[in-house]
């Protein structure tokens, strides 16, 4: 009997220790990445080397794009200013190493979410900010109007080391077509080689094709084939092992999408504080204590919407108005026939 009592006390002591430990970590909610970011005063964001609509720098060095806006949203939430972002342009090859080796804290670079990337190499995908799929661009005068018109010996230009290379093989194999892959490290060289006639087709994500087409010498002579041969959910990535930071980035993106759903825009965000809808009030921080759960103040989401805008505004500004993809396709809210559907902020 006495023996059991002794065991029981040690058990109680262990539980007590464990409990204090947990409450302590809950209190010290701040993650290492969050702490470093607040100390530095800027968010370190990895972007592409120039993909119009997603992440592209103008002559003055100002970055714009839907991928860029994710980082700006995090900066607005964490630091209070959407402009406090340091952008690092990365090639497809460098991007994951830059993130895992702590050079950047968010990778927002049209990166496809796959199982092996998520699970195997120390990365965590936090969501999808653009639903894309791989397509093919061909010359109009080739008479090719469908992917079924490709013949044995077709040469395809593409970027090195992306899911594109794998999809291309799966696709041509399933059709039983022999092909010649010509892979370049930088997108500009792919465009130049395709433009010169080295390749019969240029294949990459359809958004990329639409964006790169305007760089060709005569864009009107080329067209993107209607078929989509793969699923390419593109989204921001963080390092594995900092779940608070992961949550901050995830909910910054979700806030933008949910704001569009409830009609909250950068223009009317302040007035929405007095909305009748509790979901809207929660979204702009007028109700609930959602910020505290992320280790932030309660105005974090309001700042995102006011400074960056909702997802629809970001899409319109960067992708629709620039003529890249005026039609939102699957990147429309679920309530309007698209597949953008985010968990509720509550």
């Amino acid at each position: 009997m006495f023996k059991y009592l002794k065991q029981l006390t040690s058990l109680v002591a262990m539980v007590a220790v464990l409990f204090t430990f947990t409450t302590e970590t809950m209190a010290a909610k701040k993650s290492k990445t969050l702490k470093n970011t607040q100390k530095k005063g800027f968010v370190r964001c990895g972007v592409s080397q120039g993909l119009p609509g997603f992440s592209n720098a103008d002559a003055a060095g100002n970055w714009t794009g839907v991928d860029v806006d994710v980082c700006r949203a995090v900066a607005a939430a964490v630091l209070g200013d959407a402009n406090k972002v340091k952008f690092t342009p990365l090639s497809a090859k460098e991007r994951f190493t830059a993130l895992t080796s702590n050079e950047i804290d968010i990778l927002s670079r049209n990166t496809t979410w796959t199982l092996s990337r998520d699970a195997d190499i120390g990365l965590t995908f936090v969501g999808v900010n653009f639903y894309d799929g791989q397509g093919f661009m061909v010359r109009k005068n080739s008479g090719i109007s469908s992917v079924n018109d490709f013949k044995n010996g077709v040469s395809a230009c593409t970027n090195l080391g992306t899911t594109t290379e794998l999809n291309m093989r799966d696709f041509f194999n399933s059709k039983g077509i022999s092909y010649e892959p010509v892979t370049f490290e930088k997108a500009d060289e792919v465009v130049a080689a395709y433009d010169a006639g080295r390749c019969d087709t240029y294949t990459t994500d359809k958004s990329g094709l639409a964006a790169q087409r305007i760089k060709l010498s005569s864009p009107d002579d080329h067209m993107v084939l209607p078929e989509t041969i793969s699923k390419e959910p593109l989204g921001p990535v963080v390092r594995q092992g900092d779940s608070v930071w992961e949550d901050i980035v995830r909910w910054s993106l979700n806030t933008m999408i949910e704001a569009e759903e409830y009609g909250v825009t950068s223009a009317n965000a302040d007035s929405m504080k007095t909305s009748d809808n509790p979901a809207v009030k929660r979204l702009v921080g007028a109700e609930g204590e959602l910020g505290a759960a992320l280790g932030l103040d309660n105005d974090w989401s309001l700042r995102i919407i006011k400074q960056v805008g909702n997802y629809g505004e970001s899409y319109k500004r960067n992708i629709a108005d620039t003529g890249i993809l005026p039609d939102r396709g699957p990147n429309q809210l679920w309530t309007k026939g698209g597949i953008l559907y985010v968990p509720p902020a509550r």
Partner: protein
């Protein structure tokens, strides 16, 4: 690494690679392993290095000797070539040759065949291939010819040492190299058919060639850029080597009645080679290492295939970069071991 959730291991090398490569010397497609993809990249690196070294040496020797010419025009144009090509960064030259080639070369349907069978197009240089019957017998005949040449040389050397009579080794060697393979055609049942590339329509405006051997434009422009660049340095080594042999040696050789050809072959060159070989070894090493710039223009070398695509598909940066570094190290060491052996062979043998 564990903190960052990165696992370490070389097990991925046996996994299916699932990506294709445009140009390979061994049979390869995405169903093969990452290790085989590594071999594909390695062989492509060796291929472009060997082609580059051969052409750089030929151009380098010709230009180096041209710089010593008494003809003002030849000497000056060689000097201009050397100064121009060695002072422009290699990467720029690679881009220049690649994109210049892509701009200048005709589309497959517009090309004029050379000698009716060679087709130089934007999609590559298509050359005829041989389709062999009994290829092994043909190879044996060449090996037999090489072995007999080897013995004839030993015999000729002995004969000259003992009796002072020279044997025309060169003409006999060439004769053997022609006659033995020819016999294999006539009596050995060897048969080779020439397969000429044929144009093939892919779409209303797209064409390519089928059959024969295809050399991709990436290989051609890379080999061209590497050899033209490295040849300038080799030319300077050759010039320094020949100028390093003192004038008295030539005069002494001439005074004992050697012909100018013999002076060059027996007196000047053996001494010049001792000066030329060590710096030229460096240039061969540089060329091999510089071939890694291939990734910029889509030539599937080791860096592009293995340290590029394979690295990104697996995410195993540390493993792949370490393997790649070790590979270049071994390549360079092999070249320098071979060149050091050759250098020792031609060095002064003190008795």
């Amino acid at each position: 690494m564990e903190n960052r959730g990165i696992t370490f291991g070389y097990g991925f090398l046996s996994q299916e690679s699932s990506f294709d490569v445009q140009f390979s010397l061994i049979e390869y497609d995405g169903s093969h392993s990452y290790f085989r993809a590594y071999l594909v990249g390695l062989l492509n690196t060796i291929l472009v290095s060997v082609i580059g070294i051969i052409f750089a040496t030929i151009i380098g020797v010709v230009v180096g000797i041209a710089r010593l010419s008494n003809n003002y025009l030849i000497e000056r144009s060689a000097a201009v070539y050397v100064e121009f090509f060695r002072n422009i960064p290699l990467l720029l030259q690679i881009f220049f040759w690649y994109f210049a080639a892509l701009r200048a070369l005709p589309l497959p349907q517009d090309t004029e065949p050379m000698f009716g069978v060679f087709f130089l197009t934007i999609k590559g240089f298509f050359v005829p291939a041989f389709v062999w019957n009994n290829l092994d017998i043909f190879v044996y005949s060449i090996i037999a010819a090489i072995i007999s040449i080897f013995f004839i040389r030993i015999y000729a050397k002995k004969k000259q040492e003992n009796e002072g009579i020279q044997t025309p080794v060169l003409s006999i060697s060439i004769g053997l190299l022609i006659i033995l393979p020819l016999l294999s055609f006539l009596f050995g049942g060897v048969d080779a058919k020439v397969e000429v590339p044929v144009i093939k329509q892919l779409s209303q405006s797209g064409f390519t060639y089928e059959g024969g051997i295809k050399l991709p434009p990436e290989l051609i422009s890379l080999a061209l850029a590497l050899s033209l660049y490295t040849a300038t340095f080799i030319a300077e080594c050759v010039r320094a080597g020949v100028q390093g042999v003192s004038k008295g040696q030539k005069e002494a050789a001439a005074s004992i009645g050697l012909t100018p050809n013999q002076v060059l072959k027996l007196v000047v060159m053996p001494q010049a080679l001792r000066i030329i070989i060590p710096p030229t070894t460096n240039q061969y090493l540089n060329l091999t290492k510089n071939s890694s710039l291939a990734a910029a223009i889509a030539y599937p070398d080791l860096v592009l295939v293995f340290a590029g695509t394979a690295l990104m598909q697996t995410g195993r940066a540390i493993e792949i970069v370490s393997i790649t570094m070790l590979t270049y190290l071994s390549l360079s060491i092999s070249i320098s071991i071979f060149m050091n052996w050759y250098n020792k062979k031609i060095a002064i043998k003190e008795k």
